[in-house]
Amino acid sequence: MNDKAFEMNGVGRQYRHFSLDNIDLSLAKGGIMGLIGPNGAGKSTIIRILMGLVAADHGDIKVLGHPMQASQAKAKADIGYVSEDMRLYKNATLNWHMAFIEKIFPNQWDNQYADLLLKKFDLIANQKIKGMSHGQRVKAGILLMLARHPKLLILDEPTTGLDPVARKEVINELMAVLADEDRSILFSSHNTQDVEQLSDQITFIDRGHLVSSDDKESFLEKWRRVRLIVNENHAITVNNQIKEVTKIGHTLSLVINNFDEHILADLTSKGGNIQQVDYMSLEEIFVAEVEAKRQGVTQ
């Protein structure tokens, strides 16, 4: 029995002005993966390929054990998809949409949970979609997906454009999904805070390439920002581990990858007086990884 929510091997896709290159990505069941990348990096393309909406030029894709695009109908029966550029029928009501989904997923639709979500998300069932605010529409789409208890949730920017209250409501319900260790979530986001908080695994994408993919704690453990005081003749420069050196007067601020205690001893021996060692936020790590990759600095 397949224990992966999805697997992508050597996946590539060529467009006129953009290409997705050699993507190897997978997520174990019960996990949640956050996909981070700048605009145009290829997050949406990866997600569409997983959904079978776009074909890959080469590589294999399996979602919930089903090969895509071949068995996309079977896979999609258990996938819940919400995308930032997806729209519901504006002249119909939320009720209509709920009935529509119920007809298509008669064995999965959970009316009780749907009603509960209506309350939690503060939505009016017989309101027309066109009368809703952006945040309400996003929540409506998420409700329609959650109420059928999909095994894999694929979310393209689920909290973008939501006010803080709505964001919290949505995150609460998404996390509740993970109470079942058979259910998994993939979400792409600009919001590195959300990704940092919720993800088990984090994947960085830039310009169609996989920059890195690892479990969150490993990322956070590998990177540090070190502040130290130096004199004129210090020997501290960018190298394999020191990704960035910023000088402010006598103070150096270093961004360090693959951190371990030896580095601190090494820096001291090179003329540095360690002032502070800090963890970096996911956002800072992401920027550092992307810059390193773009400059071709080897890891």
């Binding site: 019960g30 996990g31 949640i32 995150i171 609460n172 996390m175 509740a176 993970l178 109470a179 260790e181 805070q193 940092e196 908080q197 919720l198 993800s199 088990d200 695994q201 479990d215 969150k216 704690e217 956070l220 800090d278 963890y279």
Partner: protein, 131 residues
Amino acid sequence: MNTLFALSQKDGRPMYLQIMEQIKQLVAHGDWQQGEKVPSIRELAVATRVSVITVKRAYQELEREGVLVTQQGVGSFVARNEDLGDQIMQTEIDKHLNAALTHAKSYGISAADLIMRLQHLSAKNEDDDNE
């Protein structure tokens, strides 16, 4: 349950450390009794809206520190240790005290001076409380 855990991303420390600290506080104050079953990793993750892997790491570290005990297939429990609460409190206090000692040293202040400073501050705090 989530009201027992106030986690902040603005707090400079990693999430797993925050979770560890709050669990240790619960144990130290007797909210979680020794031998009591604690929420599963997944339950806590969902309740605090933090990734499973982070909670897992917190639990692993707590096990290493002797605060929690995990039985495969059964769950995690607060360690059976009469003095656990006191030990935790002591370890936490020691952490702060050691930090103060290190700081003092770097400013050239001796341990004896530090003790005097501590007494002075303590008296001052009492005055403030009585006002």
